[in-house]
Structure formats: C-alpha cells, structure tokens
C-alpha cells in the first residue's frame, strides 16, 4: 500500500508500521509491515535494511496512536 504517512497511520491504528519512504524528505511511502508487536516490525526492519542497495529509499518506523486512546507509556 502506498500513501501519505497520515493515510498509512490512519489505516493501521494501534500498530507499529515500517514504511519505505519515497525519499529522504518525502511525506509519502510504501507500507512494508504493520503489526501490534514491535518485535515483528524489528524483524522486518532487519530484513529490509539488508536490501538497501536494491531499494535505496529510507526506512521509517512509526507508531499509529488510535484516535481517542491514552498516550502509551513511552510518551509520558
């Protein structure tokens, strides 16, 4: 799935996302993984980071905070 960062977050509330950005300054990218378990996203990050010569776009790890949900512990 390709879209703006906001669109990708909105489609996967409560999940960690791994996105390949269209460029270093891009506000759009392609979703590579979405999971509630950050360790699964870690494994995908490790896999895709090894492919940087094939796919040079930067990788972005972000969390999609669901609307109306309390802040997670890391943001307190």
């Amino acid at each position: 799935m390709h879209g703006t960062l906001e669109q990708l977050r909105d489609h996967h509330p409560g999940k960690w996302l791994l996105i390949r950005l269209d460029g270093s300054e891009a506000e759009e990218g392609t979703l590579l993984a979405a999971d509630k378990d950050p360790e699964r996203v870690d494994r995908e990050l490790e896999k895709y980071s090894r492919q940087k010569l094939i796919h040079p776009g930067p990788l972005y790890v972000t969390y999609s905070l669901p609307k109306g949900q309390e802040l997670p512990a890391f943001a307190l």
């Binding site: 996203v41 870690d42 940087k52 972005y60 790890v61 905070l65 890391f74 307190l76």
Partner: protein, 140 residues
C-alpha cells in the same frame, strides 16, 4: 572538518500533545544509510538514545562502539554503548557527528530520544507549545 549545524524547527506531533513533546520522522544517518523514527525531545537527557533494533539496522555493532558510558535513567544507572551518527535531522534542524547511546529507553522501544548531544549543537531551544513546534536556533 566538522560541518556547522543547520538551525531549523520541527512540528510537535499533534496526536501526542499536550503531554508528549514528540516529533515524527526524524532522520538518523550514517555515511551509507539512513533510518527515520519518531523521537521524544527531552531536555533532561544528557545523550541521544536509539533503540538497539534501529542501531543494528543502521549497521552499528556493539563490537564497534566508541566506548561505554554509565548513564542515569529513571530508576538508576545503565551502561550504554556509545556510537556517533554522521548526522541527525529533526524537522529542518540538522546536526553532524552526533553521539548517541544504544538502549531500550521505553517499554515500547522503537522511539528515539533526542537529548543534549543533539541540542548542544544549537544555542537556543524553544518549545512553542501554542504553535506546536520546537525551534533550534544558533547565535544570539
């Protein structure tokens, strides 16, 4: 030659306000690669901190650390491997040769901490909470 920092500003992520001063999509870069993460801007942190999974994906290995350092954290002291990024970019503010520690600071550990080793490259840091931004300036 150390390149001069680039002053700039970053929007605070609206979804975390008003409690968290978090910036989306900061850049962590080496000579050969970059990874983007979200980061808590923490004026009380002496050093920038990057989670182990992110440091590993950037190619930083424990065996190649510059040194180890004991760092005070909530609840006590921990020992961190210290490495250096080629640059870190927070919004439009950019600083080169930024030291960081590798540690899982948070219970959900895929977020970075922007601490003093980035902020020391600038002279004034302003949290504009009404404007939902943090500004990094140089000079008087």
């Amino acid at each position: 030659m150390v390149r001069s920092p680039v002053p700039g500003e970053a929007p605070l992520a609206a979804r975390y306000l008003p409690s968290g001063t978090i910036v989306d999509n900061i850049t962590l870069a080496t000579i050969t690669s970059e990874i983007h993460v979200d980061a808590l801007i923490d004026t009380g942190a002496s050093i920038c901190v990057i989670p182990p999974s992110i440091a590993g994906a950037l190619g930083f290995e424990p065996s190649e650390r510059l040194r180890q350092r004991r760092v005070n954290v909530v609840g006590g002291q921990v020992q961190m491997d210290i490495h250096r990024l080629e640059y870190m970019k927070v919004g439009s503010a950019k600083a080169y040769r930024v030291l960081f520690g590798v540690y899982s600071t948070f219970s959900e550990p895929r977020i970075a901490l922007v601490g003093h080793t980035f902020m020391e490259k600038f002279t004034t840091i302003t949290f504009d909470l009404a404007g939902k931004r943090v500004v990094f300036r140089r000079g008087s």
